[in-house]
């Protein structure tokens, strides 16, 4: 069996309106492919990925819980906020409504999650309006739609709310990994500053790189 080797385990949640592309972002991250016609997520789905943050020389295991955007699951998905270290707040750049609703999602997060949670605002589906970014070729002839939320507007709001910000495309893969890396860096930065020293957040776990039976180290990291 392959040796399990990572320094940190970080729990991420992905939230946002239905059909903004949360599951597609996760599948792009874990499987490097585009989920063409996904069914709506029921409850939550899990995916994980190892990433390396070279400047910290750390291997990080991302455990991502992709939540359902549909209203009926909202009470269930709230259960996941508390234990998470990072949150991807996703909207669709071609849907103003999804951007407006991000406010209520953020409110949920603020209400239920750990105060030190790192939140990154992700404007998804930029491939659909790639022309105004000047890279029309990347769109690949899909149904072109009008952008309804400008980059500046998203960035401005993120700044006001103290969120990280990135625009991405699960279809082309642009900025997807970057979004997770950016959030991870921010969390590691908080770890370095000692924000999590009291280990109140179950979303961050320190794990000594090890191969094979890693339980003991693992436990020490999680429950001391």
């Amino acid at each position: 069996m392959a040796g399990v080797a990572w320094h940190y385990v970080l729990k991420f949640i992905i939230t946002g309106d239905a059909a903004v592309g949360k599951s597609s972002l996760l599948v792009r991250l874990t499987d490097q492919r585009f989920l063409a016609n996904p069914d709506p997520t029921l409850g939550v789905e899990f995916g994980s990925k190892l990433i390396t943050i070279p400047e910290e020389n750390k291997v990080v295991k991302l455990q991502c819980w992709d939540t359902a955007g549909t209203e009926s699951f909202r009470s269930i998905t709230r259960s996941y906020y508390r234990g998470a270290a990072g949150c991807l707040l996703v909207y669709d750049v071609t849907s103003r409504q999804s951007f407006i609703n991000v406010r209520s999602w953020l409110q949920d997060v603020r209400e239920h999650a750990d105060p030190h949670l790192t939140c990154i605002l992700v404007g998804n589906k930029i491939d659909l309006c790639a022309d105004d970014a000047g890279a029309a070729a990347a769109a690949g002839g899909g149904p072109r739609r009008k952008r309804e939320v400008s980059t500046d507007e998203g960035e401005l709001w993120a700044k006001e709310e103290g969120l990280l910000f990135v625009e991405a495309s699960a279809k082309s893969g642009e900025n997807v990994e970057e979004a997770f890396e950016c959030a991870t860096r921010n969390i590691l930065e908080k770890v370095r500053r000692g924000v999590f020293d009291d280990d109140r957040s179950p979303g961050v776990k320190l794990s000594k790189p090890s191969s094979g039976v890693a339980l003991n180290e693992d436990i020490r990291g999680s429950c001391c």
Binding site: G3, S48, Q63, W65, G83, S207, A214, L215, D218
Partner: protein
Amino acid sequence: MEFLSQINIALRGPTGQPQSAADTIARLADRLSPSTLLADRRAAVLALKGLARDWKADVGQLTLHGLLDVLQNDAEVDADIGKAVLETLILLCEVDENAPAAARDLGYKHTDVVLADDKVAQKLFALMADHSFYLRYSALQFLSILLQNRRQAVQGYFLKAPVGVTSLIALLEDKREIIRNEAIFIIQSIISQSPEIQKIMAFEGAFEKLFNIIVGEQGLEGGVVVQDALTCIDGLLRFNQSNQSYFRGSSLPPVLLSLVGFPPNLPFNTPTPQQFALQLWDVPQKRANATLVVGVVGLLARHAGPPDGLSIACTRCLTEFGLASNAPTNIKTQALHLVPSNVSGLPLAEMVVTPYVPVPDTNGEEWDRLEPASALDALVELILHGEYNNIIDGERRTKDGMELRGAALGIFQNFVQKEEISEAIVQAMVAQPGSQAPATPLLYALTTVPVSPLNVPSVTSTHFATLLFAHLLRASPRAKATARSIVPQAGSPGGGGGAFFVPADGGPPPPGNDDDPADADGPQTLLQILSEHLSLAFLARARADLPDKEAREWDRLCVGYLCLLIQWLWEDPAAVREFLEAGALGVLVEPINQTVEEDAMIPGLCAFLLGVIYEFNREPGEVTRAVIHPILTRLGIDMLSGRLIHLRDDDRFRAVGPDSFVVASPGAHVPPHLPQGAPAAGLPKPEIEEGEIWFDWAFVDFWKSNYYTIQKGVAVDPNALSSAAGQESAMLIASLRDVIRNQAAEIEKLQTQLKAVSAASGETDALRAQVASLTEQLETSDQKKKDVEKEQDDLLVLLDELNSKRRKDKERMRQANMEVSEDEEEEDDEDEDEE
């Protein structure tokens, strides 16, 4: 004791007269109201608790709402009243499975009132985190009762509870075991059939905490709490893809494997350590724990997509458990059942295992290590000869032992699913030119001559060998063709072994026996041997003085041979011919024709085999379809169909399912009149259940899909081409049509090409004509040229003649002194003139 006197006063009333219980309860209900003092409320609750057992309906009807209010308002303030009210509620909601229906309904009714909205449930979730031990504990107990009665309602509230999951998981780390164990118990039922709760549990770290508990409690050697924790882990993983991928990616699978002593990083070519293979299994709790671990390992072994490191390690762990360990038989069976059906992840033939056998008479305390063998060989050995070569079970056929062999057979079946593998195995049994046929254990067991009195292990071996061989041949026409050329070693018991058979009652000797023509001609083929053994078995079976038990074993042998032959001869006309030439027809007809036969099984199989022979007798030979047809009509077509249908109704046939084919042996060994457990019965271990097999699922499945074809086929005229238009012939016709269509298309294409070619050849013709005419022209011009040359030559000759004549004339003229011009000039002139 204060509350007892309270009851007394309440019962007697202030005036001392007895009161009805309902009055008392009503009075106590009044005291529950928040306007009374806390101490009074507490006393009332305690009193009601005392009454609840005997007056459940009245207490419930009059006080349930009051009690729930107390729970809501007072529990956190005063732990005593909290505990008392919870205990009262438990009494009211408890459902005793053995109670009459009315009493049970009462419990459900109260539960429904409690769960009418989410308030009580939320309160209970909050109380789980309370500091008071008794409050916490009672809340958990009440929750567990509610879950038992109305699981889905509680689950619904639990999902909406803001902190429910977190506090429940936190309880897994409670230092007080009793709380922790109750929490495990609640998790077990609250995750049941709710993927959402299962996922939240995983998110909140339930796996890690449960494993902490297991490891902290000495793993497999631990008590019932380990079993409960493992049950939770199983519940979180089974039917939950998302949790499985979480678990696979975590660091826990290696821990899981090391629980059973299997080193997670064991290189493929390194044998398993002895502490895995040989463990102490005396404690029943350890067996229960191991069963659960093996179940979870089985979940991880199954993996969609290409096998990864983890699924291979898990599959190997299961295989090692089943083939090379001293684990209890039922755990081995379970492990082998769980080996994934696509075993391609595990190269059975290359994998090396080291089996162990117990040293006789050491009561399982000493073990001999056997030579390392390939897992495939060990598997076949296990199937043919049972666990530890039957050292322990001996003559008996234990149900567990048969289940184990059946599970191993399942792996073999999956393994030879690939045609190239089954062909290679069959090919290996064929003698290479110039050398003797290899005596493989399978072939040996298959061709063992049945000798009366039969010994049970040998019959079982032969029977399993027929099942194994049927798996090899069933789906592969090429394997069937190769199998026809198998000639087992003359030295093996298949050769002339028939001579050992001496019918005890002096009945007619078997045909293949007395005059041994086949033996005289040289070694027999496998098919001939099988048909001979079949007829031996029929003869032995027909003896009148045979004890029931042995008759049953002969029946079993017949069933084994018949099932194998049916599957072999199916769609193999060449094998049918060989079988017929071995004189099989007469062998089959007699059992079908038996009238005084209460047992429908063997006649049914014989009828089916006869049908198969008739259907696929398509090669020219002595015994044609036209020869068989009168036999069929004499037996009666309806009678044959009846035989086929009765087989389907046979219990031994119907009992076979995809996962189970061992049926309990009829209690022939324990005389029913003996009192149970009587040691005087003299049986070695009467508590061990015996089991037996007749058919495997593969055959039943085969039979079900094909019996109709045969049923119709026997009624068809001998000259009719194929079967009674079964699906297969339709498919065949369709495929032939396809071929024709393709060929037509091809012809058309070729014709077009031809046209194009012929157009080109027209051009060639024209050119050729041109060439011919040109050649002709050339010839004519050549001719002309030749003519001209000839003329010129003639003229030159003429000229020459003229010159010489002139010279002569000149000479003459000179002699005559006449004036003569110079020769040269003249000639020149003349030349010029000529031209």
